[in-house]
């Protein structure tokens, strides 16, 4: 109980509340601008969090990400350009509703069900995380090895259109993670005599490069074309909220559960959740023929799902230190910088911090309703901000942010290299998310592999002779088998 009171004292202070409010507005603005993703919003926020206490730093990232995922629905509904990839699954549907003159219903549903979804995911986080943490105290290097493998597998194969390109991206991330002295043997690897590289590749400038700089390159290359003018008038978004909850409670609940489950899975995030939920909704709908013509049902289920997954992605991140998606991958980096090493012991030694994070989640999802309304009202003006002015300014932020990560030009070099890499990868349809998860999970995987091998004197049996480890291993092999089966099946279908 003491911890909960302490958590309230940590959160309800002026600096924390103003930080959260600021981060919420920032997240809404970035999310609402097409091309700028929730992950990019979080990455751009990182340099600012260096100078904050742990609670406002984490609070800012939680709030910013939740708002950005919701705000991605706005340009999706008004322009048919998803603001973030997590909205892409139902952009077509929401836009079709706008064309029918139902923009306020679509956007109202997005605000309402995003907030409910976020709260549902948070509830699961609150109840599941401490229990799982107790369970995770029994984990040894074998279990962590399998958890890390599970995270990498999900990130490469789930939601990636081409498993082989997902794997290439993952390997790039793992390769990046091996650079430096930081390995069990303490041998410098891939440093080529550079002292900067000894410390490894700094994660934060790499993130800024992959997500933000590559987007600047793309926009500049396209000559920063203006968006179509938004002519739509959005009326009262609060209309018929009660009716929607009554009509669509089934879809909402199913979306919440699917989203939460996908979020908890290490390595798969909000965009995968939205796609899966939209497909599930269509599959179980009584009126599947209405999908694609501006039907609210699928929008409700998918928007409930992506926000739920965002909250539940924190379960593996806090409990095991293994990111649930790209956003929590960044957050884990920040937690380490702040001295809050994620893992089960965080729940024992600093429970007040965990409760404070939960509180911030609840606050963020409640704030979403008034702030979401405000941003929808401002959307027309916001979407008129020309990209030709926005992008160069973002580039300056990127440079300064990369520099701030360790106050050296080295950060900017990393940012540039990764910006070009990210640009090249997107051009060739190689997904970026597996690369990021590879960079974060790689060291965990290697460390636990080598530790296990040293403990067992080189015997591989140790990896499966503990019950939890064996279960995790079987689960992982089932996923691999299903990926291979699907690959062969699609090849067979293509051949015939």
């Amino acid at each position: 109980m003491d911890a909960i009171i302490q958590a309230f004292e940590l959160v309800f202070t002026w600096p924390v509340m103003t930080t959260i409010l600021g981060a919420a507005l920032f997240g809404l603005l970035v999310g609402a601008v097409p091309g700028l993703t929730a992950t990019m919003a979080t990455a751009l926020l990182v340099p600012l969090t260096f100078f904050m206490d742990p609670i406002p730093a984490v609070g800012a990232m939680v709030t910013c990400a939740a708002m950005a995922i919701f705000a991605g629905d706005i340009p999706g509904a008004l322009l048919r350009i998803p603001g973030t990839p997590a909205s892409a699954a139902y952009t077509h549907e929401a836009y079709a509703m706008t064309r029918k003159g139902e923009a306020e219903t679509a956007l109202g549903a997005c605000v309402l069900f995003s907030a409910i979804g976020g709260l549902f995911g948070t509830a699961v986080l609150i109840f599941a995380a401490p229990t799982l943490a107790e369970f995770a105290l029994n984990f040894s290097s074998q279990e962590y090895f399998w958890m890390a493998m599970l995270g990498l597998t999900c990130s490469a194969f789930i939601g990636s259109p081409s498993p082989i390109k997902g794997l290439v991206s993952l390997l790039i991330g793992l390769l990046v993670a091996t650079v430096g002295l930081n390995n069990a043997a303490g041998v410098p690897r891939f440093t080529f005599g550079s002292t900067d590289l000894m410390a490894g590749i700094d994660f934060i400038p790499a993130m800024i490069g992959l997500f933000a700089v590559s987007e600047v390159f793309r926009t500049v290359a396209a000559g920063a074309p203006a968006w179509d003018n938004v002519q739509v008038k959005v009326g009262n978004i609060f209309r018929n909220w009660g009716g929607m909850v009554v009509t669509y409670w089934r879809q909402q609940l199913r979306g919440n559960v699917t989203g939460t489950a996908i979020g908890i899975l290490p390595g798969a995030g909000a965009d995968v959740a939205a796609y899966v939920s939209y497909a599930v909704s269509r599959r179980f709908s009584k009126t599947p023929e209405k999908y694609g013509t501006g039907h609210l049902e699928g929008v409700v289920e998918a928007t409930s799902s992506n926000n739920a997954s965002l909250s539940s992605a924190w379960v593996p991140a806090l409990v095991f230190g293994i990111p649930g998606d790209t956003i929590t991958a960044i957050v884990i980096g920040v937690l380490y910088v702040k001295g809050l090493n994620p893992g089960p012991t965080l729940f024992i030694f600093n429970p007040q911090l965990i409760y404070a994070v939960f509180l911030i989640f609840l606050l963020a999802n409640l704030l979403m309703i008034p702030l979401g309304w405000l941003v929808i009202k401002l959307a027309r003006g916001l979407l008129r901000t020309p990209r030709s002015i926005l992008m160069p300014i973002i580039l300056i932020f990127c440079i300064v942010g990369a520099f701030a990560s360790n106050n050296a030009v080295y950060g900017i070099i990393i940012m540039l290299v990764f910006g070009i890499l990210g640009f090249f990868m997107e051009e060739n349809e190689i997904p970026i998310a597996p690369c990021i998860l590879g960079i974060v999970i790689g060291p965990i995987l290697e460390h636990n592999f080598i530790t296990t091998m040293i403990k067992s004197d080189g015997s591989f049996i140790t990896f499966v002779d503990r019950p939890i480890a064996a279960v995790l291993a079987v689960g992982l092999f089932l996923i691999w088998a299903s990926v291979l089966y699907r690959a062969f099946q699609s090849r067979g279908a293509a051949a015939s």
Binding site: P47, F50, F51, M391, P392, F403, I413, M415
Partner: protein, 156 residues
């Protein structure tokens, strides 16, 4: 710029072989079977496997050119624009220390705004305003030691 599966496969094959060869040169930990070399070797082998699959896929499809230009790269000036943006970042790395954050940032913004055909009035206004706001936020609020160069300290 888009590489075909064959081209991508060939590049990854070279990368994979190079990584594996490099990993073999890493010293072993005495008395242990797995040391610093184990992981890079696995990654290298992984690259080689992916490369072979891509090569097979590419050779089957055959008719695709090795390097093709995606829609936007065919637009006049697209590649130049990306090149200029990269040069701007390189210029910052080389000049910021000597000249200072404010002049270099204004210069970069002016170049990029003009590249995206923003009018001169807006260019000057946004370049100066964005630079001063960034300088204030990062130098004064967040205490990032942005280089002064030959500029005097701003009044904040």
């Amino acid at each position: 710029m888009r590489f075909s599966d064959t081209m991508l496969g060939a590049m990854l094959l070279i990368l994979g072989i190079a990584v594996t060869a490099y990993a073999r040169t890493l010293p072993a930990v005495p008395g242990q079977q797995y040391g610093a070399a184990a992981f890079p070797t696995l990654i290298g082998v992984g690259f080689v496997c992916c490369a072979l699959i891509l090569l097979v896929q590419g050779l089957k499809a055959r008719s695709v050119p090795l390097v093709s230009f995606t829609e936007w790269t065919r637009q006049p000036g697209a590649l130049v624009a990306v090149g200029v943006t990269i040069l701007c970042i390189v210029a910052y790395m080389l000049l910021a220390r000597r000249v200072g954050f404010i002049p270099v940032s204004v210069a970069i913004l002016v170049v990029l705004f003009r590249l995206l055909s923003v009018s001169w009035g807006k260019t000057i206004f946004f370049a100066v305003a964005a630079t001063l706001v960034t300088d204030y936020v990062f130098r004064s609020l967040l205490l990032v030691p942005l280089p002064f160069g030959m500029m005097p300290r701003m009044p904040w």
